[in-house]
């Protein structure tokens, strides 16, 4: 067993709309190790979100192979993909994406429910995750009663409650002011220190510095890999 968690080889993604082909990704090679903190940067429209959605099994590549945790995942059925999303991957979205009808606690508990975890374990895991992000005291609130920064903290708790192999974050600070953004980044950095593998898309070079390395993408290709030296 290698310590490689994510391995992409020759991944391309072509969108076909109205007979127009958009090459969102063209031959991406990528290797991410367990415990790594990788940031992905690049101009708008270069394919960052597309890459993240393939990593997160929300979408599948047009060509190329993807090995997650030593297991090829291209050919899997829809239910199996859902299962892997549920167990191996934690998502953090730019627009938080908490479910408005569910309380903070219920939002965090949701992926555990899908896993069929017994209620007592769910409670322990969800509470622990909420404590970790400092939102334990808001468990009974509805998302609409929280500030943006608080909502994103809850989203982080939801992503890590199930102890996934990797956290995927797409512009997690994009909808936040700089102060709230800072504190969410701080939180991710702490999680990384605790051993979490993180892949994060961000524009903000300040935040990219938290990462072990930054992958630059331009027009669907990896153009430069830069190992952060700051720490």
């Amino acid at each position: 067993m290698s310590d490689s968690l994510i391995k992409l080889e020759g991944v391309t993604k072509v969108f076909l709309t109205d007979e127009v082909e958009t090459h969102a990704l063209s031959g991406i090679h990528m290797d991410i190790k367990k415990g790594e903190y990788v940031s992905i940067a690049g101009p708008s429209g270069c394919g960052k979100s597309t890459l993240l959605s393939i990593l997160g099994l929300l979408d599948s590549p047009t060509e190329g192979s993807y090995i997650l945790n030593d297991r090829p995942v291209q050919g899997l059925s829809l239910p199996e993909r859902a299962r892997i999303r549920n167990r191996e991957i934690g998502f953090i979205f730019q627009s938080f994406n908490l479910i408005g009808d569910l309380t903070v606690y219920e939002n965090v508990e949701l992926p555990l429910t899908y896993r069929g975890m017994p209620a007592a374990e769910r409670k322990a895991a969800a509470t622990e995750a909420l404590e970790k992000v400092g939102m334990g005291h808001r468990a009974k609130h509805l998302p609409s009663q929280l500030s943006g920064g608080q909502q994103q903290r809850v989203a982080v708790a939801r992503a890590l409650a199930g102890k996934p192999a990797v956290l995927l974050a797409d512009e997690p600070t994009g909808n936040l002011d700089s102060k709230n953004g800072d504190s969410v980044m701080q939180l991710l950095a702490e999680l990384h220190k605790g051993g979490a593998t993180i892949v994060m898309v961000t524009h903000d070079t300040r935040f990219a510095r938290h990462a072990d390395r930054t992958i630059h993408i331009f027009d669907g290709r990896v153009v430069q890999e830069q190992v952060e030296q700051a720490h």
Partner: protein, 844 residues
């Protein structure tokens, strides 16, 4: 103000034109709802609200004297008893009426003109009958007091329809001689076109000329108990007239306790009310309530669509209010749109109602047993008022709450980036609640329709215990002119039976007093050797029929014990009876009934028949008509045709004017064979009496069916109600589920990103539908069940041989609604599973 309302209208039109599919669906749904309720209202209007179109319509009164304890008879509208002598007493003493008249309608009148014998439906009426209505003949003259006397020269008025059909529209018909009920008579006039009062009469004849007043204790005599109508004096309220006639009825009850004791309560009502018995009134209002239920379902559908639109327009509304629109202004704009919709829906609904009333008019007047001719279903002024009213109500019901709630959404909330706010959640709860309400109403409607449907099916499939398709039955009326005495009638019948049995076309033939092979009588009896109270309250009821020898053979019923009647069985020799197996079992158990005796008890326990010795036991064929008759079971007895069921033994043969003859054709069985020999039956009758028309000719089943035709229409209408309700509910559930799925697209995407697979999403949506269904069903089934306990008797009146709590019906409604809900939820649920989880990555 006016200009701003005009602006609202203009904007409303523009908005609605833009949303074509919403508009089409809303108009369709409202048209069904408004069309249905309008149709039903025009039925009620035509049957009992509009009344008569005669000049004196507002002063026409029906006069009844009833026994208040006879609930069933009163509810079905045949509980009145006014003997002609009572009528005369009332007429002389009363001061409330300008004019009174007695009449017998729906009577058989035998007329021979130009050598062709015909049976007409006619009425025997007092001289003032037409003057009370304010209607005069268009040709010839009205009846004069001298025409309406025993022994007067016979005269008749005919309807325009008859005049055209059988008398060649000749003006010379006035003064023409015809043979009427065996006597010569003169046609003295023709009534106006379309006139056939009171029901579907073709000919009118003075009452006393045909049926002079009978002594009070001859209750079974033809014409002894006429109906009474009057022209109430101007300014005299009906209550006052009721009180006055009640006083007179009291006196008569005291003076003639034998016959009148219990009939001491008068009921003077507008004539249209007398003509609409409470059971019919109840039925019609129930049907209108069903239509209102459908309209409610329709309104709820439109209301849910409005909620959906309001949610989509939340931003627009917020922008408007941030630009300074008051809440009132927003509500007004939305209500204007609702009114526009409801108006178009109402127009389409009137179209539906036109079509439906046409259909109903044709259907109800074309059947063999048509409804009264004065009842027509039209879209008249009061119906139009009703339409406008229901359209405005529909607009308010479907538009006000959505407008109110969505205008409440604060501008801040709606303009905020993050999705559904409190208003959105409130709307979600309300729309789901409304779907529950729809399912609830649909549930009730479906139970009602299904029970009705099964009830009529059971009526149609009643097993009479013999082959009702294989016989030919016909009715004959032996009127006094040709047959002045029972002996004369007996001579005719004896000859007819001989001729029929000698005919190569018939295997056997017999006589019965059973009306159209459907109705026989029932009355109280007592069994010899048992102790009874002095009044008749503990005497059991039994069905009875007067039949000739050979009757059971002709029917195909088996004599199980003893023997059939023979020509020597007369009451003077020995009163005998044959009882059916149900009677024998009930009263004699395992012992033989032969040789045992029983007698009839009439007139409230005061008129006894002779003790009748049982000489035979016959297999049980159904005796009661296919309608609900409380306390009537299968037990029955038969007495010889030329004897009287009630009262003491008569010297000489007893023979009614009216008889039903049945004949079994030789050869193949079945209705075709029966019809093939009907000409032969008429020929044989005319060999004995050239002037005697046969009527109601057909197989027993065909005769029985004519009484069910109106029930079939009722059942058809209930089925339509049920079908429309279920369609509208399906549309409603589908709409709400679709809308909710659309609203939650983002949420489904997030859930999938978090690892929910398609099954889980499918289940989630289905569960939401299932919860609404379960609550709606629980309420609908549960409350209906409760209602059957509260109003069991009234409901049972409408149903035949099926319990209002029939478990199969409830289960079927539950299954049907579940299936419909599943289908209408499955499509949106499938759509939910097709959501691309990528949507979660995209910012809104």
């Amino acid at each position: 103000m006016i200009s701003s309302i005009l602006q609202d209208l203009r904007i409303g039109f523009r908005v609605l034109l833009k949303e074509k599919s919403f508009c089409l669906l809303a108009v369709f749904v409202l048209a069904l709802g408004i069309g249905g309720v309008t149709t039903m209202f025009s039925v009620i209007n035509g049957t009992m609200l509009r009344g008569f179109s005669y000049p004196n319509a507002d002063r026409l009164a029906g006069v009844q004297v009833i026994d208040v304890t006879q609930k069933n008879a009163n509810v079905n509208g045949f509980g009145s008893q006014i003997f002609t002598l009572d009528y005369e007493a009332i007429r002389e003493q009363q001061k409330s009426f300008d004019l009174l008249a007695a009449y017998i309608n729906g009577a058989t009148v035998n007329v021979t003109f130009n050598g062709v014998p015909q049976r007409y439906t006619g009425a025997y009426v007092s001289a003032d009958f037409f003057r009370i209505l304010g209607v005069s003949p268009v040709l010839g003259r009205d009846f004069a007091p001298d025409d309406d006397k025993a022994g007067a020269a016979k005269v008749a008025l005919i309807s325009t329809q008859l005049w055209q059909r059988d008398f060649g529209s000749s003006p010379g018909v006035v003064g023409k001689a015809i043979r009427l009920n065996g006597k010569s008579a003169t046609i003295i006039g023709v009534m106006p076109p379309g006139f056939s009062f009171p029901v579907n009469e073709q000919i009118w004849i003075p009452l006393y000329c045909e049926y002079p007043p009978f002594p009070r204790n001859s209750p079974n005599a033809q014409g002894a108990n006429p109906a009474v109508l009057g022209l109430i004096k101007r300014g005299v309220p009906f209550d006052q007239a009721t009180a006055e006639v009640t006083t007179i009825a009291h006196q008569l009850a005291k003076a003639f306790p034998d016959t009148n004791k219990k009939f001491d309560t008068a009921l003077v009502e507008p004539l249209i009310k007398t003509f609409t018995p409470p059971a019919l009134t109840q039925l019609l209002w129930t049907m209108l309530a069903c239509c209102v239920g459908i309209l409610l379902i329709a309104c709820v559908n439109v209301m849910n669509m409005q909620f959906a639109r309001a949610a989509l327009r939340a931003k627009e509304l917020a922008v408007r209010s941030s630009l300074g629109a008051t809440r009132f202004r927003l509500i007004r704009q939305m209500l204007t749109e609702s009114l526009l919709l409801a108006s178009v829906g109402a127009l389409a609904g009137i179209g539906v109602a036109y079509w439906a009333t046409d259909w109903l008019n044709a259907l109800t007047h074309a059947q063999a047993n048509p409804i009264p001719s004065y009842i027509t279903f039209d879209i008249d002024r009061s119906v139009l008022f009703f339409v406008v009213g229901s359209a405005v109500l529909a607009a308010l019901a479907s538009g006000l709450i959505p407008a109110w709630i969505s205008s409440r959404a604060s501008a801040v909330e709606a303009l905020k980036e993050s999705g559904r706010g409190n208003t959105g959640r409130a709307i979600g709860v309300i729309t789901r609640g409304l779907v529950v309400f729809q399912i609830f109403i649909t549930c009730i409607l479906l139970i009602a329709s299904l029970l009705q449907l099964q009830s009529i099916l059971r009526q149609q499939r009643v097993d009479y215990g013999y082959d009702t398709d294989g016989l030919l039955a016909a009715r004959m009326a032996l009127m006094d002119g040709d047959y002045p005495t029972p002996e004369a009638r007996k001579l005719f019948f004896d000859r007819l039976m001989r001729e029929l049995r000698a005919s190569p076309d018939f295997e056997n033939a017999a006589l019965t007093n059973r009306f159209r092979m459907t109705f026989s009588g029932n009355g109280k009896i007592e069994i010899e050797g048992r102790a009874y109270k002095t009044d008749d309250s503990d005497r059991p009821l039994a069905n009875f029929e007067q039949v000739s020898e050979g009757y059971f053979d002709t029917l195909g019923a088996k004599i199980r014990e003893g023997r059939d009647f023979n020509l020597d069985d007369t009451d003077m020799k020995l009163p005998v009876a044959i009882v059916n197996a149900a009677f024998a079992k009930k009263y004699y158990g395992t012992e033989s009934a032969l040789g045992r005796r029983f007698r009839t008890v009439g007139n409230n326990g005061q008129l006894f028949g002779p003790w009748r010795t049982i000489i035979g036991v016959v297999s049980t064929v159904r005796m009661p008509a296919p309608f609900n008759q409380p306390n009537v079971d299968a037990t029955g007895f038969y007495v010889p045709y030329f004897s009287s069921t009630f009262g003491p033994v008569q010297p000489g043969p007893v023979s009614q004017q009216f008889a039903t003859v049945i004949a079994r054709p030789r050869g193949a069985a079945g209705p075709a064979r029966a019809h093939a020999v009907s000409a032969s039956l008429q020929r044989t009758v005319n060999q004995v009496d050239a002037n005697l028309p046969l009527y109601f000719v057909g197989t027993p089943r065909e005769n029985q069916d004519t009484f069910l035709a109106q029930n079939r229409i009722v059942a058809a209408m209930f089925s339509i109600f049920g079908a429309v309700a279920i369609i509208l509910s399906a549309v409603g559930l589908y709409g709400v589920m679709s809308f909710s799925v659309n609203q939650r697209t983002q949420e489904f995407g997030i859930r999938m990103a978090l690892g929910a697979d398609t099954n889980r999403i499918l289940q989630m949506v289905l569960r939401q539908g299932a919860i609404q269904l379960a609550i709606g069903l629980a309420l609908g089934l549960g409350l209906t069940l409760l209602a059957t306990f509260a109003f069991g008797d009234a409901i049972a009146n409408f149903l035949f041989q099926i319990s209002p709590r029939d478990p199969l019906t409830y289960a079927a409604v539950g299954l049907l609604l579940t299936a419909v809900a599943l289908i209408s939820t499955l499509v949106p649920a499938r759509r939910a599973t097709l959501v691309d989880p990528m949507i979660a990555l995209r910012a809104e």
